[in-house]
Symmetry: C2
DNA sequence: GTCTATATCGCGATAGAC
DNA sequence: GTCTATCGCGATATAGAC
């Protein structure tokens, strides 16, 4: 055929290569498309803007929506959140420590990418909030649950990336949940032990 | 002087007028500067980009930094946060319900402004986090406290803007704090007929 | 202040897929 | 033939350099 069907993938690969070689900012869209053997116009048909190449394939909001729609009707919201985060941790992050870390590093290095990342986070919050509203949760509670969920996700992600590659992210989720509880209990936040709902002790 | 010293204010006013008349996206920087009687270059000397006009005078991160540096050394982090939010609510929001609401509406209407707003939120989180680190708080706890603080701020702001103009925002802060606690305790405050840990019923 | 790069988008033409 | 992805050209606004 005249065009390969993998234009999108080629663009992504070319972009990441060039970002690694020259940095994000120094790389122009024409450079990316040149390497991918396509035209500039084609790039913008696949990605809304230059930043989106980095975040392509970010289906986490979809995962959240699906999980919320599928969860049993009368489960406690926080349980749904924690279970969901465990699943996401296991299925989408576990074993990709280095890879995720590299992308994260790129994002944090460029203000415009940080900004896009913040927007993705807001979008995710909104998806979760809407998901809980659709489950019949009161709007204000849904907002609070969604914010909590996304904060927990981010704290866990950052902490996991900061730590050793063999640490399970799902465990970090639990640890950060304890930390959030401690903060809201007004306990000296750095106390070593937090009481879990089941009454057992959870050393940090 | 040849030029009025209030260039920045004139630009802001012209921008808001034009955004109201034609929408944000349809308004170009040259249009704004033309109305303000200035050149395009001048605009970018005062604002990093077109979006920043909306967020000009956003010194909340500075307020947060100052408050954290000034607070007594061994206060509980959450107390600092809540006191700080009460102050910000009283000093910077109280009595400006309509005004804040109008800006918020504009921001929410335009994806690129939503994105910038999300970035501001991330910047604020980082300022608070750093402030607590400077106070000697453990880095992970500082991150958790900062996220909690900013979530609380945003939940309170949105809720306050959604409600009647005569409601005190400081009260909404307290209410949202209770909501967050309830979420983390596994009992959303207004969920219907959820059994609380003390065994009593909690109807909406 | 002027000049310019580069991101971004609209439009019409075209080339293969089905 | 119709549909979709790509191309090629052009226009414009933002943003930064000199």
């Amino acid at each position: 055929m005249r065009w390969s069907p993998d234009a999108r993938e080629r663009l992504e690969r070319a972009a990441f290569e060039l970002f690694a070689e020259q940095g994000y900012q120094a790389t122009t869209v024409p450079q990316i498309t040149a390497r991918a053997g396509l035209t500039t116009r084609t790039f913008f048909r696949h990605f809304a803007d230059k930043r989106e190449v980095i975040f392509a394939g970010d289906e986490i909001p979809d995962v959240a929506r699906a999980a919320l729609a599928a969860a049993p009707p009368d489960l406690d919201p926080l349980d749904i959140v924690v279970h969901g985060l465990h699943r996401v941790a296991d299925e989408r992050f576990e074993g990709r420590h280095d890879q995720v870390r590299a992308v994260r590093r790129l994002i944090l290095s460029e203000p415009s990418l940080r900004e896009r990342d913040a927007r993705k986070r807001a979008d995710l919050t909104d998806a979760v909030r809407q998901g809980f509203v659709d489950r019949g949760l009161d709007a204000s509670d849904a907002a609070a649950v969604a914010e909590t969920a996304v904060v927990l996700f981010h704290l866990a992600l950052e902490s996991w990336l900061d730590g050793p590659a063999d640490r399970r992210m799902a465990d970090v989720v639990d640890e950060q949940l304890g930390r959030l509880r401690a903060v809201l209990d007004g306990r000296p936040a750095s106390s070593r032990f937090v009481t879990r709902r089941d009454g057992r002790r959870n050393a940090t």
